[in-house]
Every structure is written in structure tokens, then in C-alpha cells.
């Protein structure tokens, strides 16, 4: 560990050095000639990244966060929104702890950003790995991801109530709920549903959301709480049925997704009589100790991304709640959400044993 800290310290120093010697750096680059295409011109107003931006994904390749990160990378590259390239790096070990620790250790490095999901809150609480969102600098909320209660389309359950009544009638530990990971958002929702409806599921953890959807189609589990984007393909093909969305109100997207339904046609769980709502953060954070200018650059960058047609389409395809937040408003939101998670996880008994 000591080696790591010296490394970071030296890293900071070299960042500083780099900024001071930027002019010299460009001169040096010119001499070396090769390699440097578009090294940061320091002349433009405000701050800009000085080297390729490392975009850390604290989740595996192919998952929801990864897809979003790669889409962002694609949009930024395609529309030339940033001069330096953006490099997506997956650091998924320990339910994302690896990625967050990397950002924590990169204190003061403005060329690193991380996309977060709920594991920003759940992982430290469930595993006791020492990091907290306060070790990072909140940049912006890109969107909120919804959760939907899905069942196989061949089952007779048409509403959430019918399904939960059946689960209740069957007795505890008969119905199987699939989800991603253990002691993370999917299981938290499952526990909340159990409490609200007075049922008891067998929770079966899988590695990724795509797996869960397919297991549900194959009837190896009875229901799932997938994100819309994880199950939309099977929904459109008529293999899955959406019962309700875990939110106070319905999703706003009214264009038809399946032959007969739009996202808006899925009732909210509240109106279906299950008072559970849960939204997952898809936001961007930076290491601690960065300047306001640097944060502003990224806020501005993601504002531009939001304006693109590709992003809008992605939001609709995945039925995201496209709320955007930054600055103190976002920080306050994160603070509130953290305490919600703490309560939820305490009630569920998911907190790490000290």
C-alpha cells in the first residue's frame, strides 16, 4: 500500500509539473514529432484535459454501465466534443470497489472520470471496503435508471397484484426472483417488495442483467427486477411481461415499443398497490481535489452530449428517467440517496459485519 500512495503522490506531482511545463511539453512533442496528435492546447478558454481521459467503469464488460460508458465514448468521439480521446477502462472487481478505489487513489488527477451505479453506495456498505462518495467529486447526474417487475409471458399473471398474491398463496421460498449480484440494488428491491407485499422469494443472484432476462425467458426463475434496457428485447419479442415500474409515476415515453404497449402503458408499482420505488443513479464522478474549472469542463461536456440525437434515442430505448443535475443540487441528491440506501440495507440486514 505504501508503494501505491507514493505512486499517487508522485503522480500528483507530475500532473502539476505537466501543467507548469505544458509549453515545454508541446515544444518537446514537436521535437519528438511522432505520437502527438492534438496535444492539449492551453490557449483555449477554461480548462481542458491534457491527456487521454480514462473513463472508469466499475462494472464488467457488456453490462448497463458499460454500455452507457461506451455509448458516451462513441458520442463524444463521433461529434468531436473533446480534443483528447476517451478511453473506457473496466474495473469491476469486488462489485466495483476496484474502480472506486482507483479514483480515490487518483486524487487531484483531472483526466480520470468514473460512471457510477448504485454500487457507489451499496458496495462500501455491504463489503466494508473503505470508500465513500465523499472521496470523489460529484460531476453530474446523467440519468436515472428505472426498474421493472418482469414475469414470463407464458404465466397467467397480468398484474403485479395477481403475481404477488400467487407468491403469497404458495408460501415462503417457493417463487424465485432473479437479479444481478448480491446485496445490490436488485436484492434491495426484492427485499422491499417482500416487505411491502408480505411474501418471501428465493433470491437467485446472477452475474449480469442480460443473464437474468434469459433465465426468465427460459423459466428457470419466476420473476426479475431488470432495468428496462436489459429486458426490452425479450419484451418486444413477446417473451416477457412487464407488471409494474418501481416508481411513483409511469414512465413518460409514449411511442409503441411492443405491438400493443409503450413504456407509458406499464403501471407504476404504486398504482398497482406495491408501494416500492427505487431509481438507480447513472452519474459521473471525478477524483477529489480537482478544481472547479475542471469539473465545469465535464459538466459542460455532458450537457453537450445530452443534446445529441444518439443520446436522446438511447434514453428512450432504455426508458431512462432523463433528469440532469450538477453542482450543489446533485451533491445534495447524492447525500440523500446515500442515507436512503443505508436505511434500506440496514433493514434488509445487508450491512457488513464490523
Amino acid at each position: 500500500m505504501t508503494q501505491k500512495t507514493t505512486a499517487t503522490r508522485a503522480g500528483n506531482r507530475s500532473v502539476l509539473l505537466r501543467r507548469i511545463c505544458l509549453g515545454a511539453g508541446i515544444a518537446g512533442a514537436a521535437i519528438v514529432g511522432a505520437a502527438i496528435v492534438g496535444a492539449a492546447p492551453a490557449l483555449a478558454a477554461g480548462w481542458e484535459p491534457t491527456k487521454p481521459v480514462e473513463f472508469i467503469v466499475p462494472a464488467g464488460t457488456g453490462g448497463g454501465a458499460d454500455q452507457m460508458a461506451r455509448l458516451l465514448q462513441g458520442i463524444i468521439t463521433k461529434n468531436n466534443l473533446m480534443k483528447q480521446p476517451m478511453i473506457v477502462v473496466n474495473k469491476s472487481a469486488g462489485a466495483g470497489a476496484e474502480g472506486f478505489l482507483a479514483i480515490k487513489e487518483a486524487k487531484g488527477d483531472p483526466n480520470k472520470i468514473v460512471i457510477t451505479l448504485s454500487n457507489l453506495f451499496t458496495t462500501p456498505l455491504a463489503t466494508g471496503v473503505p470508500f465513500n462518495w465523499k472521496d470523489l467529486t460529484p460531476v453530474a447526474m446523467l440519468a436515472l435508471d428505472q426498474f421493472v417487475l418482469w414475469v414470463n409471458a407464458d404465466t397467467p399473471y397480468k398484474t403485479a397484484k395477481e403475481y404477488l398474491d400467487a407468491a403469497k398463496a404458495a408460501g415462503p421460498n417457493k417463487f424465485k426472483m432473479g437479479g444481478t449480484g448480491s446485496k445490490q440494488e436488485d436484492q434491495i428491491i426484492t427485499v422491499a417488495v417482500e416487505k411491502a407485499a408480505g411474501v418471501k422469494f428465493i433470491y437467485v443472484p446472477f452475474k449480469g442483467g442480460g443473464d437474468v432476462a434469459v433465465q426468465l425467458v427460459g423459466k428457470h426463475i419466476d420473476s426479475s427486477v431488470n432495468n428496462p434496457i436489459e429486458a426490452v428485447a425479450q419484451w418486444r419479442a413477446g417473451q416477457l411481461r412487464a407488471l409494474c415500474v418501481f416508481d411513483g409515476e409511469r414512465m413518460p415515453y409514449k411511442s409503441k415499443v411492443t405491438a400493443t404497449m409503450s413504456w407509458n402503458d406499464i403501471p407504476s408499482c404504486k398504482e398497482a398497490g406495491v408501494g416500492v420505488d427505487y431509481l438507480m443513479l447513472r452519474g459521473i464522478f471525478m477524483p477529489a481535489g480537482v478544481t472547479k474549472e475542471q469539473v465545469d469542463f465535464y459538466v459542460d461536456l455532458f450537457k453537450k452530449v445530452r443534446e445529441t440525437a444518439e443520446w436522446k434515442k438511447f434514453m428512450e430505448d432504455g426508458a431512462f428517467n432523463a433528469t440532469f443535475m450538477s453542482g450543489p443540487e446533485f451533491t445534495k441528491w447524492v447525500e440523500k440517496t446515500e442515507s436512503t440506501h443505508k436505511d434500506l440495507m440496514r433493514e434488509a440486514g445487508f450491512l457488513a459485519k464490523p
Binding site: Q3, P52, E54
Partner: protein
Amino acid sequence: MNDKDRSGEETGIPKRTVEVAVALLLFTCGAIVVFDSHRLGSSWGSDGPESGYFPFYIGMLICLSSLATLGQVMFAQWRDRKTTFSGAVARRRGLFVAWGPLRQVLSVLIPALVYVLFVQLIGIYVASAVYIALFMVWLGKYTWLRGMVVGLCVNTGFFLMFEVWFKVPLFKGAFDPLWWLGF
């Protein structure tokens, strides 16, 4: 796998010592695994095995199999005492590695370890260039010029490939000597 040296006087590290050392090391590994699994809970819970269930038995099996290997080595030693070989034959039979080859192995292993240490300090590119050059000069008896040319060319190639084309940042080290390149 026995040493191929013809001379009866060749000495080195006895195979038995290494066998015992490796078996003991494996036993320690197994014990650590057992210990940590026990901490996590190693029983068969209400809904299937707990986190430590499989590692617990895996650790146990490592311990048992290393003990068995240890026993075999001891037994072989006891049996060999009964039959008499001439000294040189016995020694050749029981050699893990003779001093000569060992020196050669170490002449690669130690620089490689030093190389990794330098990677930690000054990053992959510079450390690799120096390592290739030194290896060629010391072990391959090439001239300094050749060594440096090969070292530089290979690493410039890697640099272009990873940093420039594929955009895969490699380790730059605690004291990044290439910071002025801007990657």
C-alpha cells in the same frame, strides 16, 4: 527431468529438499485457505453452501495432498537408505538443479525481477528498453549499440501500438520519465 551433466562430481540443490519445501509451502497455502474459509462460515446453510464451504474443503485437500507428497518423499528417502548406490550416482539421482544451470537460471530471473521493480518506478517503456539492451549485452554478448537500437525500436513500436493506435494506457511508473509526451 534430472540434470543432464555427465560429471559425477556435479553438486547442487538436492531434489528432496525442494520437494519438502514446496510441499510445506503448499500446506501453508492450504492452511491459510482453511483458516479464512472458517472465518466466512464453512457450513451447509439453509439454502445451500455458505461462502466458505467450498474453499474450506479445497484448503483441506491441499493440506492433505501436500502431506501425502511429504510422506512419499520421506518414504522414498527411507527406502533409498537400504539400497546402496555409489556416491556420485546417488547424488545425480537426487539433484533438483546443479549449481551451474542454477546460476544461469538466476542470471535470467534476477534481472527480470529487477526489471519489474523498475517498471514500478519508471514505467514499462523505459524499463523495457533498458532491460532488453542490458540482457543483450550481458547475456548475448552483443555490442552496446546493437542492444540499445533493439531496445529502443521494440519499445517505440510498443508505444506507438498501445498508446497511440490502440489507446491502451500502459503503466507509466511512479516517476514517469515520458510525461512530456503527453500520454
